[in-house]
Amino acid sequence: MSTEMDGATPVVADPHRASAGRERLLDVVGTLARLFLGVVLIYAGAAKVGKPLTSERAVQAFEIVPSDVAAWIGLALPFVEIALGVLLVIGLFTRPVAIASTLLMVAFVLGIAQAWARGLTIDCGCFGGGGQIGADETRYPQEIARDVVFAVAGAWLWWRPRTLASLDRYLFGH
């Protein structure tokens, strides 16, 4: 295959073959995005498991929803993140899971941005921890940038969920 590709004859390269190469590259990028986002979500969720008070406080500190509601979100979020992460890693229902993950990351970005805009001084608690911190300890730009990177990985899979070594491919042939 490589000899055919390299052996550039005067004839213009076979357009089908060129697009197949491009498809293959996109598959690889998608696969990396899928595994990256999946591992990040599992890691983020696992860091919060078993720390109920911390998780509740982390969400309450954003002061978006009433304290009781925030507490429940804090308890559920780690498991939602792990579920999405596992589905991404095994590549099952990649597009719907990618959509959910992307929206989740966008929600995190908006949450952090509103905390920043309102002058709250919190740690996003993205990977455990969280809650009130000193005004000079906030890291809003870094936190937002990090979540935007995750959102971009999700958006890629939303746009093009086809990847290599996925259960989608194995079970459903795509």
């Binding site: 004839v11 213009v12 076979d14 357009p15 089908h16 498991v49 078993g50 720390k51 109920p52 008070l53 911390t54 998780s55 509740e56 406080r57 982390a58 309450q60 500190a61 304290s67 429940w72 308890l75 559920a76 780690p78 498991f79 939602v80 792990i82 579920a83 589905l87 099952l92 229902f93 001084t121 740690d123 455990g128 921890g129 969280g130 809650g131 009130q132 911190i133 000193g134 079970l171 459903f172 042939g173 795509h174």
Partner: protein, 258 residues
């Protein structure tokens, strides 16, 4: 040539895909798989929430509900200088601290003696709320263990002494916590000795007041005290910038005395 060969591979590829699908029988039923995945995910999330809620209950009340002497209920503050009867018109001054909070240490260094002397003279009712939220941020258990140890010292009547010594000996690097042996030396420096020290050690080993410390964190957070140090006089938040010197603090206390 390129033009001519383009259509066949495309259809060949489609044929291959179809063949691949056929080779797995009728192929997995997407709806069935989706239903199974959805059910498993919902069970995992709901089960996880229930489990977390359960372990939270354990975290707050699991090891019994021991309250330090003078404390009315879980979540309530600890009244300092309980042997002093404050004047009837003395304001209640509540101080919220976390033993790992550097700002608390500098605040205590500047204002601590004013608080204690006012309390000893019965001019204020001094109440401490010992929080432990920094354990979350620093990912250790230093605040909880120091808090527990301080209330163990309160059993020997040495809370204030222990409290002061902890803040004087905060680790140079925030987050290093307090080693076991250091807490014991704090107790000794605070004047907990002999049989009282043995009792103190048992109290520390049993985590007797850990639930209480957790409950104070819960209650104060729910009441909106999310950072430390925080000072409330008669229930109203005090802007710490207005009590930058002991003189200003004394003045603010006087103003609150009716």
């Amino acid at each position: 040539m390129a033009k001519k060969s383009t259509p066949p591979p495309t259809s060949a590829r489609q044929a291959k895909i179809q063949a691949a699908q056929k080779s797995q029988g009728s192929g997995a039923n997407k709806i069935v798989v989706a239903a199974v995945v959805a059910v498993v995910a919902i069970i995992a999330v709901v089960g996880g929430v229930i489990w977390m809620e359960q372990s939270k209950t354990d975290e707050v009340t699991g090891g019994g509900k021991a309250l330090p002497t003078g404390v009315s209920a879980l979540g309530a503050g600890y009244p300092a200088f309980q042997d002093v009867t404050a004047a009837a018109n003395a304001p209640t001054v509540e101080v919220y601290v976390d033993f790992q909070c550097p700002a608390c240490a500098s605040f205590e260094a500047a204002m601590g003696s004013t608080f204690t002397s006012q309390a000893q003279e019965g001019k204020i009712e001094l109440v401490y709320h010992v929080k432990n939220f920094l354990d979350d941020n620093l990912r250790n258990d230093g605040s909880t263990r120091a808090g527990n140890a301080a209330f163990c010292a309160s059993d020997a009547g040495k809370f204030q002494e222990f409290h002061d010594i902890v803040f004087q000996n905060q680790p140079k690097t925030e987050g290093d916590g307090f080693p076991e042996a250091q807490l014991k030396s704090f107790a000794e420096q605070a004047g907990v000795t002999g049989a009282a020290l043995t009792t103190w050690q048992q109290c520390v080993d049993n985590n007797t007041y850990v639930d209480y410390v957790n409950s104070v964190e819960e209650a104060s957070f729910a009441a909106g005290v999310k950072g430390t140090p925080t000072v409330k006089i008669n229930g109203a938040d005090v802007d710490l910038n207005t009590i930058a010197s002991p003189e200003q603090l004394t003045q603010v206390i006087q103003n609150a005395t009716k």
